[in-house]
């Protein structure tokens, strides 16, 4: 297939990019994205982005952590090497709560962070956008829309026109190196 390309347009304010993104969406574009220095509320609605699935990942991790914590203590102190300690039962669940809790939290945290990396496809150190010098300000004070060449409606000239029409400045065509 053709080389992977992107069209990038710059906007100055949150308001501009929210409305522009809305227009792009209603124009039927799907494979596009917004790049902003901070999350803008409303933008996600304009782009009709589905809710994050991260919560389920974390839940899974949490349950696993809980089971590992309790299971480990049950196996180690209760089964594998029984030791008579302070006259307590071998499986003294009252005493096993703190470690179980800690492991639940620990694994949940791993789920939350690495799950997010997974959903976002991070780390990804090379991306055509990052190569674009004008694009640098997306982490400072500028707002960008990028349309992927994979989008069925993508057309180098038409899309460029549309972007300029909806207020995009300094529209540029980037090619993956």
């Amino acid at each position: 297939m053709a080389k992977h390309k992107l069209l990038v347009a710059e906007f100055d304010t949150p308001a501009e990019i929210v409305s522009a993104a809305g227009k792009l969406q209603s124009a039927g574009y799907r494979d596009y994205d917004a790049h902003t220095p901070f999350p803008i509320h409303g933008l996600d609605k304009a782009m009709k982005i589905k809710d994050s699935r991260l919560g389920w990942i974390v839940l899974g991790h949490g349950i696993t952590g809980c089971l590992i914590g309790l299971g480990m203590q049950w196996w180690m102190n209760g089964v594998d090497y029984q030791m008579l300690i302070g006259g307590k039962p071998y499986f003294a669940y009252q005493a096993f709560v703190p470690v179980t809790f800690a492991l639940t939290i620990l694994l949940s945290a791993f789920g939350a962070v690495f799950g997010m990396f997974f959903l976002n496809g991070l780390p990804r150190w090379s991306h055509p956008l990052l190569a674009h010098p004008g694009f640098r300000r997306h982490t400072d004070d500028k707002f960008y829309l990028s349309v992927e060449s994979d989008d069925p409606k993508f057309d180098a000239t038409k899309t460029r026109a549309l972007l300029e029409e909806i207020g995009g400045k300094r529209v540029a065509l980037l090619e993956a190196p």
């Binding site: 996600d44 919560g55 800690a102 939290i105 780390p123």
Partner: protein
């Protein structure tokens, strides 16, 4: 994960209500904020910073030497004895863990409570948390008699076929504090990613571009990423909240589950948590006051921020004072002669000097914050915040040493006196703390750039469109409903 569901619209980091007061002073644009924060990490380090670093590093060096000597000749170089088997070592541990609470607390709990003012200080506080926890973890590590055997604490298969004893509060500590350290690190790092990306994009030198490039994981501010990012941050905040409350609870179990009068107390968990928040906030104030002076961030970290912190110090300080009083009441009410003696001995015994130092610093000094004048006075809050930290160190000393030095059998009573090495280790740990801290403020954005931008009025997509129609945020609020 219940915390997630309580959020009306999880995609929003900035809740709809308008800020009651301007969180960022001066008419700064997004770019100004970026400049203000990033510039610190880019300009040539100023002399003051260099001197501080040199100082901290040399103290850290001394600390290292002291630890080596400790390992070489044994814990006997400390003043420890029978009956006082723990003294400064564990005091320092609890002290640092306590300080380590502010960061995650500010980040997590204030975040869930939508305290937007947190954005200017959370990064700073989280960093402080990490470094404090690092110091804390050192002490349980080096206080043992056979440091080279500490790996027995981990549930590793070994030639003895033995496992650690999960009934021991000390092992709970290992897991609780270990988890806390890890989660705080992740939380901190996740918050840093967009800002590191900012530094990456501003990088002038290849090295910076490389370093920040790698650390930012190729962050490109994608809205589709922000959605997951926000959720991740939210969840981290959600699980860190019970965690931060649990850590000091579990630390307090070291004492609460024992049989020693003065340790064996059910009030310890809440009392320790309050104390931890208390000392943590005090430490944040101490450092913030210095940092904002040093790096001219008065507009981002405003007096309002500091005043809010001081209010929390007043609250927690008073809580701690209540706990002190309650301990005495319960001791009397229990009718247990050993219990009663332990507390009378605390206030009137050989260590009365330590007890009253604690009361003065922790209970009396914060009361000044009832007055707005003092809450908003930089010198006063600076002095008080330091007093509070002194007091909180003494609190741990009093709990640990005065309970141990006179327990059940008068024949085995003793009096602990610190040696030069006890002092060296304590002072030394500050060397580690400040070294890490100075490196942090030099090489990483000490204020959460993207979050600050997020709470600026300009951040609202309706900003600037509706002049005359009242404040944009009210519409935003309407829209949210």
């Amino acid at each position: 994960m219940s915390q997630i569901n309580v959020m009306p619209d999880s995609a929003l980091v900035v809740p709809p209500e308008a800020p009651h007061e301007k969180l960022v002073h001066g008419n700064h644009t997004f770019h100004d904020v970026t400049e203000l924060v990033s510039e610190v990490t880019e300009r040539k380090p100023e002399l003051a910073w260099k001197i501080c670093l040199a100082l901290s590093v040399s103290v850290l060096g001394a600390f290292g030497a002291a630890v080596l000597y400790l390992i070489w000749s044994g814990t006997g170089i400390w003043g420890l004895q029978q009956p006082v088997g723990w003294a400064w070592d564990i005091t320092n541990f609890v002290f640092w863990v306590g300080i380590g609470h502010a960061g995650t607390l500010i980040s997590a709990i204030l975040f869930l409570f939508r305290q937007k003012w947190r954005t200017s200080i959370n990064r700073f506080a989280e960093a402080m948390t990490l470094f404090a926890v690092a110091c804390a973890l050192l002490f349980p590590g080096i206080h043992v008699g056979r440091i080279w055997m500490t790996y027995f604490l981990a549930p590793l298969p070994n030639q003895m076929g033995m496992w650690p004893n999960f009934r021991s509060p000390l092992l709970w500590d290992v897991f609780a504090v270990g988890t806390y350290g890890t989660v705080s690190l992740l939380f901190w790092y996740v918050g840093l990613i967009p800002d590191i990306a900012t530094l990456r994009d501003r990088a002038k030198t290849k090295l910076r571009a490389m370093a920040y490039g790698v650390l930012s994981l190729g962050w490109r501010g994608s809205m589709r990423h922000w959605i997951n990012y926000e959720r991740s941050y939210m969840i981290l905040a959600g699980i860190s909240t019970p965690l931060v409350l649990s850590v000091h609870t579990i630390v307090s179990f070291d004492f609460a589950t024992s049989v020693i009068p003065g340790w064996h107390t059910t009030i310890f968990p809440p009392y320790f948590v309050a104390g931890a928040i208390f000392s943590g906030f005090a430490m944040v104030v101490t450092l913030m006051v210095l940092a904002r002076q040093l790096f001219g961030m008065k507009d981002l970290v405003t007096l309002d921020h500091l005043e809010k912190m001081n209010k929390i110090i007043l609250l927690t300080g008073t809580l701690v004072g209540y706990a002190y009083a309650m301990e005495f009441f319960i001791a009397w009410y229990s009718g247990n002669e050993y219990e009663q003696y332990a507390f009378i001995n605390r206030a009137l015994g050989p260590y009365a000097w330590a007890y009253w130092t604690m009361i003065t610093c922790n209970v009396i000094s914060p009361q000044f914050f009832w007055f707005k004048r003092f809450r908003r006075s930089i010198p006063v809050m600076f002095a008080l915040s330091i007093l509070v930290n002194i007091g909180m160190w003494f609190e741990r000393f009093v709990i640990i040493v005065t309970s141990l030095h006179r327990d059940y059998l008068p024949s085995s009573w003793g009096y602990f006196m610190p040696t030069i090495w006890d002092i060296a280790m304590f002072v030394g740990s500050f060397g580690l703390f400040f070294t890490l801290f100075l490196l942090f403020i030099r090489f990483l954005p000490m204020i959460a750039i993207s979050e600050v931008k997020g709470v600026m009025p300009e951040a609202s997509p309706h900003h600037g469109h509706h002049e005359g129609h009242g404040h944009g945020a009210s519409i935003a609020a309407a829209e949210a409903r």
